[in-house]
């Protein structure tokens, strides 16, 4: 029996001064899901991402990621959990300047214990997977915004984590490259990776099978769209019969 990838129960996160970023949130995401967490700014979605990504601990409630109770793990075991189970994708890419794409991706495996040669080999495979096999030696400033986000996605998936967390992955991109990045994330989901996308863009959320809507630190709706219907609509949008 495999545990759910994400299991939050009664999670509260409050900051000094009485601000409640999350109020009694419970959420369960199974293996293989593609979920959007959508809401306006200040709705608590970023706090939720930080807690799911184990970058932050809740004030109360329990968080289980891939079956591990986060509250029972020391800081170094949490680091190992992030390194092996979670891939992060950021709005601003967080790529190192003047470092070729291949090495930027290989850096994602630095804390895995693999040798440098093996890290670079896997990085090349990951870049191939995101369609940048021909851009291995390019520095980030030689790449377009969409390509940079693809490099960042390659870095996130290089270690084959079961969970991908994307924080506004298309926020810094034009609509065409944004659509390309979403397409790539859907492909990765199809091949088995559980993906959670944080966005304030309702349109993007509407294109995903499950949408968790947030407001004022609470989940206001959690709906599953018929995936086939979504696929049909998407195909219609792109003019595919």
């Amino acid at each position: 029996m495999t545990p759910p990838v994400i299991e939050l129960s009664d999670v509260t996160k409050s900051y000094p001064g009485g601000v409640k970023a999350l109020a009694s949130v419970s959420l369960r995401i199974e293996r293989g899901e593609l979920t959007a967490i959508v809401g306006p700014s200040g709705s608590g979605k970023s706090t939720m991402l930080n807690i799911i990504g184990t970058l932050d601990r809740p004030s109360s409630g329990s968080v289980r990621i891939d079956g591990y109770d986060v509250s029972e793990l020391s800081d170094s075991r949490l680091s190992a959990l992030r390194g092996t189970r979670i891939g992060f994708i950021f709005q601003s890419f967080h790529l190192a300047a003047k470092v070729p794409a291949l090495d930027n991706v290989a850096e994602g495996l630095l804390y895995s214990g693999l040798s440098r040669g093996e890290r670079r080999r896997r990085a090349a495979v990951a870049l191939e997977r995101v369609g940048l096999g021909h851009r291995l030696d390019h520095d980030p400033h030689e790449l377009s915004g969409g390509e940079r986000q693809r490099v960042a996605i390659a870095r996130a998936v290089a270690g084959d984590p079961p969970l991908l967390l994307a924080d506004e992955p298309t926020g810094a991109l034009d609509s065409v490259s944004g659509a390309g990045v979403m397409e790539l994330l859907r492909d990765l989901n199809t091949s088995g990776t559980t993906i959670v996308i944080i966005t304030h863009d309702r349109e993007i959320a509407a294109g995903l099978p499950r949408q968790v809507r947030m407001r004022d630190g609470r989940i206001v709706s959690d709906s599953v769209t018929d995936v086939t219907e979504v696929a049909t609509r998407r195909n219609a949008e792109f003019g595919v019969a």
Partner: protein, 407 residues
């Protein structure tokens, strides 16, 4: 659901980083900001270079002294007539030389006798008051090998020339008189009589009094300059092993009636004492170099604090990629150590260069003790560790979310 527990899952253990990865990740900051790295390493380099060159120059002069002493010999003892109990200049007996020669371990004896009345002038036209501080000595022909003196120009007094108005000038005396070469054309006035300069000496390290001397033959002095024939300084070479024994009997042998009226000294001791003085001064300079090194260390600490501040997003990213706090700390500590090690190596090269150039320009052997090089490198590593520790700990304590939200 209760059946699923963290305990049932495989244990999470963060992987250890390989040493080459630690080095590579530590070098990231240096590669991306080379000018800043260069400047803060330069601070360390200047400190280390100052210390290495102080030690190097002092060791090189020490090695030069050893070389000098081993070629000059440390077995020279001089006997000088001192003062009587009443404070008047004492006189050694005329037989002093012969008596000292009878001491068994004594290998060679020579003597000079000062002629107070005979002043030295460049020509007869120089006013009498301008004596230039040159003393006239009657000298034995075997003086030259006994004190280890060498000739810069001309010849030394021999059995023939010691009877004639011939003079050999010390290096300083020749300079003051403006005589550059010896020969029949170079003449000076000694005690009112023209003497031909037959030779000029190099500086004599073990008998510095000869540098400002004009030396004439013993018979010539007696015949032409009213020399009384009493030796004023005796130079002896003895068996090195019995030097102390010789030293203890030397005064009594030279002047049996008034042993207290002669002074016995070992000129090589004075050279070594001079060296000890300059080493004490080098110790002071070493302290100044240490302060420079400390300032360099503060520069590295400053660079590291700024580096951590600027690279908060990178720290956040690395934490999200699975870096533990310890690995972040190690990264910045490695960066600080690399920075100071670069400075240290640069400083050692610079200090070695300065020492070599200095020694070469003076013709000394260039000596840089291994302890200085190794000590310098260890000092830089210690400074790098101290300078990097606080910024590294701060970097590691940064919460990942805070680090990532920095723009």
């Amino acid at each position: 659901m209760a059946a699923i527990d963290t305990l049932d899952r495989p244990r999470l253990v963060p992987a250890r980083m390989r040493p080459d990865d630690v080095l590579r990740v530590g070098a990231v900051g240096l590669r991306t900001r080379p000018l800043r790295a260069f400047l803060s390493a330069l601070g360390i380099a200047i400190g280390i270079a100052a210390m290495i060159s102080v030690v190097g120059i002092s060791s090189s002069s020490g090695a030069e002294l050893d070389r000098q002493l081993s070629s000059l010999g440390t077995n020279l003892l001089t006997v000088t007539s001192g003062q009587t109990l009443l404070g008047e200049p004492a006189k050694m007996p005329v037989e002093a030389e012969a008596m000292i020669e009878r001491i068994d371990p004594v290998e060679a004896v020579s003597a000079v006798g000062q002629i107070e009345a005979a002043k030295v002038y460049r020509s007869e036209n120089i006013p009498k008051a301008q004596t230039s501080g040159i003393f006239t000595y009657a000298a034995r022909p075997d003086l030259l090998p006994t004190v280890g003196a060498t000739l810069r120009s001309g010849t030394w007094l021999n059995e023939a020339t010691q009877n004639f108005p011939a003079v050999v000038l010390g290096a300083g005396a020749a300079q003051r008189l403006g005589v550059s070469t010896a020969g029949p054309d170079s003449q000076v006035v000694v005690g009112g009589i023209r003497f031909t300069v037959v030779g000029i000496l190099d500086p004599v390290p073990l008998a510095v009094e000869l540098d400002s001397a004009a030396m004439v033959g013993w018979p010539a002095a007696e015949a032409r300059l009213d020399f009384d024939g009493y030796p004023t300084t005796l130079y002896t070479r003895s068996d090195e092993a019995q030097l102390e024994a010789v030293r203890s009997v030397l005064a009594g042998t030279a002047n049996p009636e008034a042993a207290n009226e002669v002074d016995v000294s070992r000129p090589s001791d004075a050279l070594a004492a001079k060296q000890a003085t300059s080493q004490a001064f080098a110790g002071l300079l070493l302290g100044v170099g240490g302060v420079a090194l400390l300032v360099g260390g503060v520069g590295v600490a400053n660079t590291m604090v700024i580096s951590v501040l600027e690279r908060r997003p990178e720290i956040g990213l690395r934490r999200s990629l699975g870096a533990t706090r310890g690995q972040i700390r190690t990264q910045f500590l490695a960066e600080s150590l690399l920075l100071s090690a670069l400075g240290g190596i640069g400083g050692i090269l610079l200090g070695t260069g300065v020492t070599t150039a200095y020694a070469f320009s003076l013709g000394y052997p260039a000596v840089i003790p291994a302890w200085a090089t190794i000590g310098g490198l260890l000092a830089t590593l210690a400074i790098g560790a101290v300078a990097g520790l606080y910024p590294a700990i701060r970097a590691s304590r940064l919460s990942p979310t805070e680090a990532l939200s920095t723009r």
